[in-house]
């Protein structure tokens, strides 16, 4: 790893959800060839912000997210989460929500949410209580005893979000969590997520393909180029909160979306 010259590390005990990425690159080998997935990416996310990563397919935004989750190691550069390097998954610092809800089909919704706590040997009673709170937060009170096959796509993704939140990590990483949902469910889930974000004050880093979703949700949009993935633009979304459906037709919204689209079209 390179020295963290341009990063001032926070106290390692802090759990504020800040993310500091400096000079991160990732290279992987397939059939003898080096593929540069991510190249020289640096940015910082302040605690409590909602940041969206967009870019053309294969631009390494998911790779970047996997590295922030500690699921993959960067080839170069450094990533600090809450002021400390993230070498392995740490559910106390980072919660992850995937595109597929990835629920364990043999467990009930409640047991799925409890899963990360059970891994740590948390007592059953405490687990139940925390899972109940998390399910309530995502609007699934009373559905805890259902198995995933008894839930709709949107409900499954809510359970998955509850599971990401159950250990109260200050940072939530979301990898195209609503991509598999239909348009209507997707819109309501977006509003739901903003409500949860406002209620919990977490830092959220959200990957999406949808420009509308990006502008609608974000404080800041980070645009990445096609492979090798680099940052080509960062936009502050100045729209007031709470966001509402009416803003989608506004001029500010349209010009922000157009600006992102021009970048993506250029690099695609």
């Amino acid at each position: 790893m390179q020295p963290l010259a341009n990063i001032t590390p926070l106290k390692p005990t802090a759990r504020d959800g800040a993310v500091q990425i400096s000079g991160v690159g990732q290279i992987y080998r397939t059939s003898g060839q080096d593929v540069v997935a991510v190249s020289e990416v640096s940015f910082e996310v302040k605690p409590g912000r909602f940041v969206v990563l967009v870019g053309p397919s294969g631009c390494g935004k998911s790779s970047l997210l996997m590295m922030m989750a500690g699921l993959r190691r960067p080839t170069s550069g450094a990533i600090l989460v809450s002021g400390a390097p993230i070498d392995n998954p740490d559910p106390n610092r980072v919660g992850v929500v995937f595109q597929e809800p990835s629920l364990f089909p043999w467990l009930t919704a409640e047991e799925n949410v409890e899963f990360p706590l059970a891994l740590r040997g948390v007592a059953r009673k405490t687990r139940r209580a925390k899972a109940g709170e998390a399910l309530q937060l995502v609007g699934l009170e009373g559905f805890g005893s259902r198995h995933p096959h008894e839930l709709s796509g949107g409900m499954k993704q809510r359970v998955s979000i509850a599971r990401g939140l159950v250990q109260d990590p200050p940072l939530l990483l979301m990898d195209e969590p609503f991509a598999a949902l239909d348009e209507q469910t997707r819109m309501t889930m977006g509003d739901e997520l903003l409500r949860i974000w406002a209620a919990t004050g977490k830092t959220i880093i959200f990957v999406t393909h949808s420009l509308t979703e990006a502008v609608y949700l974000a404080d800041e949009v980070i645009v990445m180029s096609a492979r090798p993935g680099r940052i080509v633009d960062r936009l502050e979304v100045g729209l007031p909160r709470p966001r509402s459906f009416e803003m989608l037709g506004g001029d500010t919204f349209g010009s922000l979306r157009d600006r992102i689209w021009r970048h993506i079209r250029k690099s695609a």
């Binding site: 699921l71 043999w106 899963f115 259902r146 008894e150 409900m155 903003l194 409500r195 709470p242 509402s244």
Partner: protein
Amino acid sequence: MSSTMLRRLIVMSLIVLWELLPRCGLVPELFLPSLSSTLAAGWNDAAEYGRALLVTLYEVAVAMVFACGGGILAGAIVGSLPRPRLLIMPMVSSLYAVPLVILYPVFTVWLGIGPESKIAFASIYGFLPTMLATVAGIQTIDPQLLLAARSMGATLGQRVTRVMIPAAIPTVLSGLRVGGALVIVGVVVSEMLISSGGIGYLISRYRTILESAHVFAGVLLVLALAVAFNALMRLIERRSAVWQTGSRAGRNAMVQETAAGLQPARPG
């Protein structure tokens, strides 16, 4: 008429025909003794059949432990390690096509004509499908589930016990069903070939002295054994794979969701 009704009707009429055809002299009693004379033969020599049943049950039980236990263990190891899988699986698959009964005379030379040779033969006979199913069960585990578990901080051991094993259970059970059935076949067939006890031995002995009623009494006993095994497997499957009951419940959930007005709160 429902298919269950129809099925029962077919079984009933077969039983009635079994009694009537020999009685009316349409079929000679040597070829097919009537149901009542078969039951009478079994009843009169109940002690002999009981002893034989105990021998067969003992052989089946021990072979079941070897075949299923060994098959699951070997399948789990081979299935989770890519290199051994590539080496071993083609051999195992082609071995599966060999009529293993040709090995049985060799087993009697090695182990004698008592229960040991039957147990050895039936164990190997049932081992292969169980192992193949376990390998398949492990290979079909959704890698996304393992990734999700890792993101929640699951260790390798936890991923095996809490994700891989439960995820593989349905496939393994279907392998057990085939493997267990083959264990019964293996035991009975080997008893009929060369042996000194067991139901297969009784069937074979009574056949040589043209005691058809006693032959059929033995056949009924084997039939009962197979039906009992099947019922047991069903019970286990139902208990351990509740979650496998398809996606219809999921669609119902969507309807309920809309009906219950599970609407998200507005942001803010």
